[in-house]
């Protein structure tokens, strides 16, 4: 009886595991090696999976666009947990790809190790800059402070209470760039506008995001920006309940609460992937470097739905600021010191 029951539970567990099996993507079969072989690119997602409505999905959209535009072979492997990274790297290596993408800084170590073991294979990673990048690796980072600056300016111009808020996920440099960019943007809109800022130390605790947002709204803030993943879900809910504004991040989050999401600071992972895959197809792979995509390369930007709630004159000013940043008229601050030193530019 007992053995039977252990078997039973083991079967249950197996069922779940098999349900979770990463989708075997259209792996290029053993084609005879031709001289003119199509370029093939694969990506390994982090634990979010390819339909995460966030950067993994965005990355896959970028690859699909690259496939449509210049006919490269694309595929993906999903990771369900951190322990999947290394095995997925092996699978990607065995299926004979020209370039293997790691999506997200969580895969930094896995990519580095794979790259050192296989110096002839090209790798690229999203959101990570190595100190010493091997010749076969490219790090791709996004200038998140630039889009945060633009939404900060919108928040600063549109606040009626003179107080806005920022909710961060876990406090480290990638997220702090959002905070400082946002603060600089608010400063550009008005020097006396106060920015409340708080970190949840989590990317998943929606209840905490909601409480922090409630706390900020009660202190008089009327617009809150987040860079906090699932925590931001709580913010958007609080905005709905209180009838206040929230600003989304990474993707256009307007669909989550069309009446309460003012705009979103978008990180165009899709464009980053697309650009670099194009470079690869053109034979211009920038190995051994960290590539940084900002407003100029369409790597970041504000959501296209912004015009729904943001008045046209403010959007025109945002566009002007955007041009100035692209032209290099000023550099958007991304540290506490540079925000402190930032003086608003003439529009």
């Amino acid at each position: 009886m007992k053995k039977l029951s252990i078997l039973f539970t083991a079967m249950l567990a197996l069922m779940v595991v098999s349900c979770n099996k990463p989708k075997e993507a259209a792996a290029p079969a053993e084609e005879p090696k031709q001289v003119e072989k199509t370029v093939s690119v694969t990506m390994v997602t982090d634990v979010g999976g390819v339909n995460d409505q966030s950067f993994n999905q965005s990355a896959w959209e970028g690859l699909q666009k690259a496939k449509a535009d210049f006919g490269i072979d694309v595929s993906y492997k999903e990771s369900k947990q951190n322990a999947d990274y290394a095995p997925n790297m092996e699978i990607a290596l065995d299926s004979d790809n020209d370039l293997i993408w790691g999506i997200g800084f969580m895969m930094a170590d896995a990519i580095m190790e794979a790259a050192q073991n296989n110096p002839d294979q090209k790798y690229a990673i999203i959101d990570n800059a190595y100190e010493n990048t091997p010749e076969n690796v490219v790090g791709v980072v996004f200038e998140a402070e630039q889009c945060s600056y633009l939404v900060g300016y919108i928040a600063g111009r549109m606040t009626q209470t003179g107080k806005v808020g920022f909710i961060g996920g876990i406090e480290f440099f990638l997220i702090q760039e959002f905070e400082y960019g946002f603060k600089a943007g608010v400063k550009q809109a008005g020097a006396d506008i106060e920015v409340l800022s708080q970190y949840a130390e989590s990317f998943s605790d929606a209840a905490k995001g909601k409480s922090i947002a409630n706390s900020m709204y009660q202190q008089g803030a009327d617009i809150i920006f987040h860079a906090a993943g699932g925590v931001g879900n709580g913010l958007i809910e609080a905005a709905k309940e209180q009838g206040k504004w929230a600003i989304g991040v990474d993707r256009d989050q307007s669909s989550l609460a069309p009446e309460n999401v003012l705009t979103s600071a978008m990180k165009r992972v899709d464009n980053g992937i697309y650009n670099l895959s194009k470079d690869l197809a053109d034979g211009k792979f920038p190995g051994g470097k960290t590539v940084s995509y900002g407003l100029a390369e369409n790597g970041v930007g504000i959501a296209p739905t912004s015009s729904k709630h943001v008045p046209a004159d403010i959007l025109a000013e945002v566009e002007k600021l955007e041009e100035m940043i692209i032209d290099g008229a000023f550099v958007v601050p991304n540290t506490a010191e540079t925000v402190e030193a930032y003086t608003p530019v003439e529009l």
């Binding site: 009886m1 029951s5 083991a10 249950l12 339909n51 130390e201 998943s204 209840a207 209180q242």
Partner: protein, 309 residues
Amino acid sequence: MILQSIAFILGTTLMYATPLIYTSLGGTISENSGVVNIGLEGIMFMGAFIGAAVGFYTHSGWIGFLAAGVVGGLFGLLHAVACITFTADQVVSGIAINFLGPGFALLLCRLTFDGAAMTVPLPLDEKISRPLNGLFEQNSFFDMIFNRYSTVYLAFILVFLMWFLLYKTRLGLRIRAVGEHPEAAATLGINVYKIRYFSVIMSGVLSGFGGAAMSIAIVSQFRVTLISGQGFIALAAMIFGRWKPQGAMWACLLFGLANGIVIFMPRTGLDISSQLLSMLPYVLTLILLVVFVGKAIAPSADGEIYEKH
């Protein structure tokens, strides 16, 4: 200003504690009948998804909430079949459910929402109702504390009902008898299997409610990261609460209070690192419980396999 602060902390306490209370009540009834259920987390996950998905398709948070209870009950039944009828190890079966719940919820989510790993959010008026909404001025003292979703009030009613069931009814006496000494209970003519089936299925129903209280009251959609550890915290709260419904409730409230204080801290102007602060709820809860709560004694047949001779 001080009143405002107190109101904020109390309101946050209630919001945080609610999903935990449902789930810890589920743990309480199961373990009082002698069946350990560490699958609470997996069932909550499933409940969170079913609540949000059914709520979205039926345009009614309440139907979603009930559906979450029903599906939670089915998962409870699964646990019951494995470890009562087939006398499986209760911990192993619980672990299996903790894998099954999230995996199954995600699979269903992708099937029903175009491959997305989250559901479409419910508009405010289709969520669970807020009975006192609009009664007080927005963000006034009473509004901050009492303008809560019905799930919050229901949780406290259920605590009372569970206490009544366990300590004031014959069924409750039988549940506890079966948890203390199933052989003795059986000699008195109590059907141990039946009682345990009932208790474990109820624990699934309550955990399903707990998940839905998260997905359609605190927020309005299911996400993969929405349930991350609440089931285990509820399990711990039940143990700290000495396997009693009111004890579990106090433990959940304490954890909620600690979170409320932590979120409030930055408003005091004290410059404490947010990493340190985020540890505080766990540390505070531990310390308070160690200091104020004595030795915890589980039902003596808790976790033991019972087989009729």
